[in-house]
Symmetry: C2
Subunit: 277 residues, 2 copies
């Protein structure tokens, strides 16, 4: 398997893992988001990922999002791709799997043009996001390509943009902290037993137990994010049934999407280190 294959398979294992409370998984759909749309999204993103490392990182991300949205008919894996794309670039070395140092180097090498492409990616998919931080209205991602002049004016690289968002977005935080949680979770996945899907579900629960999910904060509010993490911790400790929790969270629309994104990225790192199906 090449790098793009591994990224696609990481997306597939992520959605296959069950129970992942609040997410679409092998056992559960959302009212307006089906399992099959995630399968299609993973396939649709493939062509862009296979072009790595030739195009600039931002272009690859934009094209991967466009391919995903075109195949899935909606946004399924925007955040997961935002983590997987730099990891694909980091995996270009000859010897051994990519390390956090490699990932940091990719982040540090991103440009203003990468940031512009990132904004353009929002034109292809409807992504739930918070209001921008204070003084950044001109950089609101919901402006899509309209924000490009402001990005250029400020000379903002994609890494710089992620730094500004790290306070409120768990995916951006991975960018700024050298994919700390991603690599940590990859270790759990490799050390666990069972199928790749079972390992994904276990890592997901531990990730959610370890930190509040910023996508829940954005879509359901701070109280829901705090509750989700508290109850994920209870599930990890065996005090809650994760399947019952999964049913309840889907019912209540509590969707730990950022935790799923990091799980997918962790699966990619684990696949590079020999994870079997």
């Amino acid at each position: 398997m090449n790098i793009a294959d591994r990224a696609q398979l990481a997306l597939l294992y992520e959605v296959a893992g069950t129970p992942k409370p609040g997410n679409v998984d092998r056992a559960r759909d959302h009212p307006n988001l089906r399992f099959e749309q995630f399968l299609a999204g993973a396939v649709g993103a493939g062509r862009a990922l296979r072009a790595v490392p030739e195009p600039p990182l931002g272009k690859t991300f934009e094209r991967a999002v466009a391919g995903m949205a075109d195949a899935a008919g909606t946004n399924t894996q925007f955040g997961a791709l935002l983590l997987l794309v730099p990891l694909c670039y980091a995996s270009q070395r000859e010897e051994g799997p990519a390390t956090r140092v490699d990932a940091r180097a990719v982040v540090d090498s991103t440009t203003v043009e990468d940031a512009c492409s990132f904004y353009r990616a929002f034109e292809h998919a409807s992504v739930a996001v918070d209001d921008p931080p204070e003084g950044m209205d001109d950089l609101d991602v919901r402006r899509g390509a309209d924000a490009v002049p402001a990005v250029r004016d400020r000379g903002l690289t994609l890494a710089g943009l992620m730094e500004k968002s790290a306070g409120q977005d768990g995916v951006a935080r991975e960018w700024t902290r050298g994919f700390e949680r991603t690599f940590h979770a990859a270790g759990w996945i490799l050390d666990a037993e069972g199928s790749a899907g079972d390992r994904a579900a276990g890592a997901f629960l531990r990730l959610l137990a370890g930190a509040e999910d910023t996508f829940i904060t954005t879509t359901s509010g701070e109280a829901a994010a705090s509750e989700a993490t508290r109850r994920a911790r209870a599930a990890v400790d065996g005090r809650e049934d994760p399947s019952a929790l999964a049913a309840e969270f889907v019912e209540r629309g509590i969707n730990p999407g950022t935790t799923a994104d990091i799980t997918a990225a962790a699966l990619f790192v684990a696949l590079e280190r020999g994870l079997q199906p």
Copy 2:
């Protein structure tokens, strides 16, 4: 999505569809065959499929099987690929989706070298097959590459080989009959409602109700194949619960693998005609 993307997505929708009595599906694993292995097999076959139409058909098939087996760690989709590969070649025309005429033309153009590659494919994956027809011991597929001299001696094309096997193998029969059941089932899939997986499961049941599955005959015997079709018909008519049937068939090791292969091929044809996730 390009042709290879559609073939991969067809493999993914096939395994996602549930209930598909007796098969690995979104809700069921086999004791020694997991859902995740099918996901990996679909990804692993991709590189070979993307090379269509450059290499000869047989080479593409051999490489797709090798990629599948390498990623999945076992044989997951040998028969499905044997149907998908000629359909991928048939899809090379400029205008409109491939027709049965196109598929027949691809079959008719196969060569002795394609047949040799087909034999070599058996070196990459362990495939359950029957004894060869009378007078064909030297062509036993279990001989793998050792059978190549006999194939050359007889001047047997891949189409010719499929013709010899059509009496006992439902995949070979599709080759010789212009993919009749494949295109028929694609129509059901397009006319149905629900997710791609639901449509796949519905088509699978109708296919099984319509003809005995030759993979069941090979692995569980004629009586089991006949029972499976009789009970699938009952499920289609609403006289049996397909989910209960699925649990029972998995328990008893009754595996309609050929029907699943044709379902995957039908999904490819349907995807070319606009099937959405």
